[in-house]
Symmetry: C2
Subunit: 345 residues, 2 copies
C-alpha cells in the first residue's frame, strides 16, 4: 500500500498528456491528494494547491507521487532534488516510470538512511506464481476492449463509483501503473514474467465471500498483435462473471500498428466471452462502454442506441452518460448473489 495523502509532482509540464498519471490520481482519488508541486515554467495544473515540500510535510503528506511521464520513462534530472527533499522531509516516494527510483544512487542512499519507502509501481512482486484456474469465490467484473487505451481503467473506476453510490460493495482492482497509483495497490500485469500473467491476476483479485464485486481493470486487447498475450492471461486469471466491452469509435487501426483493423464489436465480444469461459463457463456480458469524446453529443447518443440494439446490451459513455444502465443490468443479472456493502464501508 502507498501511504496517503499524496503530494503530486508535475515537474515543469507544459503538455497535459505528460501528467496523465497524476491527473488520473487527482481525478479519481481527490480525497487522497493534498496538493501539487511544480517547477518554474509549468503551465499544466491539476487545480490542486501548489505546495512546497515543507508545507506539504507539515500538512501531513505521506507520499510524493512522481506524476510526470516522458518518452523514455526515466526520472528527469530536475526531479531528483525534489525527491531527495521529500525523503528528508519524511515522505515516501512512488513512481510509475520505467526507471526504478532506486537506480539513482543518491535517492537509494537517502531512502535507506532515512528509512523511507520507494515504490516503483512498474515493479511486479517477486513472489508471483503461475495461475491455477481453480474456481474461487467472489463476484468479478472485467473490462475488456477492442484496443488499447479505449477507456478500460476509466470505465472500471466509473462502475466502482456507481456501484458504491448505490451502497453496493465494489472494489476496483488495478492492473496497470496509473490504476495502481490511483488505488494504492495492484499488480502491473504487463510487467510480470510471461508465465505468471494469470497468476498475477488471481493475486490482484483474490477470493471474497462478502457478496461484493471486484471490478478488474483490463489491459490491451485480444486483437492487438503486440499485447494480446497479456490480455488473454488477464482474462483467464480474472475468472470474470461479467464483462464490459470498451471501445473508442473512429480509430483507423489498432493503436500503434497501422494495417491492423479494429475488430467489430460483436466479434470482439464473442471472442472475449469464449476466452473467459475457460475459467468461468457462466460468464456473461453486461454492457458496452464507449469513449465518444471525439463525437457530438447527439451522435454519441445515437451511436450508443444503435450499439445497444445490435448487441442487446446497455451502452453508455461513462464520462458523458455515466454507467447507471450498465450497473442496472449487472445488478439485475446477479440479483441473488450481489450484496449491499456492509455498514461502515
Amino acid at each position: 500500500m502507498i501511504a496517503s495523502p499524496y503530494l503530486l509532482y508535475l515537474g515543469a509540464a507544459t503538455d497535459p498528456l505528460a501528467v496523465k498519471t497524476a491527473r488520473g490520481v487527482a481525478e479519481w482519488r481527490p480525497d487522497r491528494c493534498l496538493g501539487q508541486i511544480r517547477l518554474p515554467g509549468a503551465t499544466v495544473s491539476l487545480n490542486l494547491p501548489d505546495l512546497t515540500i515543507e508545507r506539504a510535510a507539515a500538512q501531513g503528506a505521506k507520499t510524493l507521487i512522481i506524476g510526470e511521464a516522458n518518452a523514455g520513462g526515466v526520472l528527469s534530472p530536475a526531479a531528483i532534488p525534489v525527491v531527495l527533499a521529500a525523503l528528508e522531509a519524511g515522505l515516501d516516494v512512488a513512481s510509475g516510470l520505467h526507471q526504478r527510483l532506486g537506480e539513482v544512487p543518491a535517492i537509494r542512499e537517502a531512502a535507506q538512511r532515512l528509512g523511507r519507502t520507494l515504490t516503483d509501481v512498474r515493479e511486479p512482486p517477486a513472489d508471483l506464481i503461475v495461475g491455477k484456474g481453480v474456481p474461487r469465490p467472489g463476484l468479478r467484473l472485467l473490462t475488456v476492449g477492442t484496443d488499447c487505451s479505449v477507456g478500460k481503467m476509466y470505465s472500471s473506476l466509473a462502475i466502482e463509483r456507481e456501484m458504491r453510490s448505490r451502497g453496493l460493495a465494489a472494489d476496483f482492482r488495478a492492473t496497470g501503473q496509473t490504476g495502481i497509483l490511483i488505488t494504492g495497490d495492484g499488480v502491473p500485469v504487463d510487467a510480470v514474467i510471461a508465465d505468471f500473467i494469470s497468476g498475477a491476476v488471481e493475486r490482484v483479485s483474490p477470493a471474497r465471500d462478502d457478496g461484493g464485486w471486484d471490478v478488474i481493470e483490463g489491459q490491451g486487447s485480444l486483437f492487438h498483435p503486440s499485447y494480446a498475450g497479456v490480455t488473454l492471461g488477464l482474462i483467464h486469471g480474472a475468472q470474470p462473471d461479467a464483462l464490459v466491452l470498451c471501445h473508442e469509435p473512429g480509430r483507423p487501426h489498432m493503436r500503434g500498428v497501422p494495417g491492423h483493423p479494429v475488430p467489430d464489436l460483436a466479434t470482439c465480444l464473442e471472442r472475449n466471452l469464449e476466452a473467459a469461459r475457460l475459467t468461468n463457463p457462466d460468464v456473461i456480458a453486461v454492457g458496452v462502454a464507449l469513449n465518444t469524446s471525439a463525437m457530438g453529443a447527439q451522435a454519441a447518443l445515437d451511436l450508443c442506441a444503435r450499439v445497444s440494439d445490435q448487441l442487446g446490451l446497455p451502452c453508455q459513455d461513462p464520462v458523458a452518460h455515466g454507467t447507471h444502465l450498465i450497473v442496472d443490468r449487472l445488478v439485475s443479472c446477479f440479483a441473488t448473489q450481489t450484496s449491499a456493502a456492509s455498514a461502515g464501508r
Copy 2:
C-alpha cells in the same frame, strides 16, 4: 550461441526424468555431444563416453552443459566443483536451471577471472521490444498443442529433420530451455516480460528470403489456464503460415490443473487458426502429431487414421511413424514458395 562440442553433466542422477534436458540435447544433437560426466551413484546414462573434465577439454569440449534438473531448479552443491573445474580447464558453462550460474559467487568470480562465458538459457535478452505484427518475409511453421508437454518440441525437431533430409532449407527455432540448449540459440518465451512475448518470437524467427522454413517450437496451450497468454503471444509473434497440432491422447485433464478438460482436436485447431489469422490471415493447418507412446502400435495407427479422417489432415506419431506425411502436405500446400536448401548448407 553456445559453443560446441558439449560435455553433458548428469550429476548423480538415478531418475531418467532428472536428465530430460541433457537427453534432449544428446538425442537431437549427437554430433555436438562429446561425452557425459557423472558423479558416483549415477545410474542414468545417455550412452555417451564417460569423460573427466580434463579428458573432455583435451578432446576439444567447448561447453559444459548442466543437464541435471531438480524440483527447485537450483544448482546442486555437488555440481559446483565440477563447474569450477570446467571453467579452469577452459570450458564455458551453460544451464537451463532457474537459478543463474552467476548467483554462485565462486562460479561468477572464476568465470570473470578466466574470461569464460556463463549462459543461463532461462535468462531472456535484456533488449527485447514489443512485437509489431508487421508482416515479414519468410515461411514459418508453428507447432501448437492441446496441452503442455504433448510433444511440440519433439515434433518441431522431427519436422526440421524430415525437411532437411529432403534437401529443404529448414531451421528449428527454440522458445524453451531444452530447445535452446539443443539448438544453441533462441529465447525462453515463458521467461520474458509479458509485454514482450510476441516481440520475443518476432526476434526468434526474423525475416528470411531464401525460400526456407523456420520451424518454431510452440509453448503451452490456448486452453491452459496457467499459460495461455504465453501461447497466444507466441502465435501472434510467429505469424505462422502453417500449424501442426500436437496432442497426447488419454490425458484425464490439462496438465497440473485437475477439473480443466483437454479440448477436442477440432475445436482446439480452429481456435489456434483463429488466433493465428490476426497476424497471418492465410495460415493453414498441415497436420496433427500424436504422442501415442502409451498405446499399442495398432491402436496408435487406428487412432491416427480416425483423426486424419476427422480433420482432413495427415496425422502421425513423430516418434513411431515419422513426419513424412505432414511434410508431404506442407510441401504440396506451399510448393511454389518452398526452396531447396542452398548448396553448402
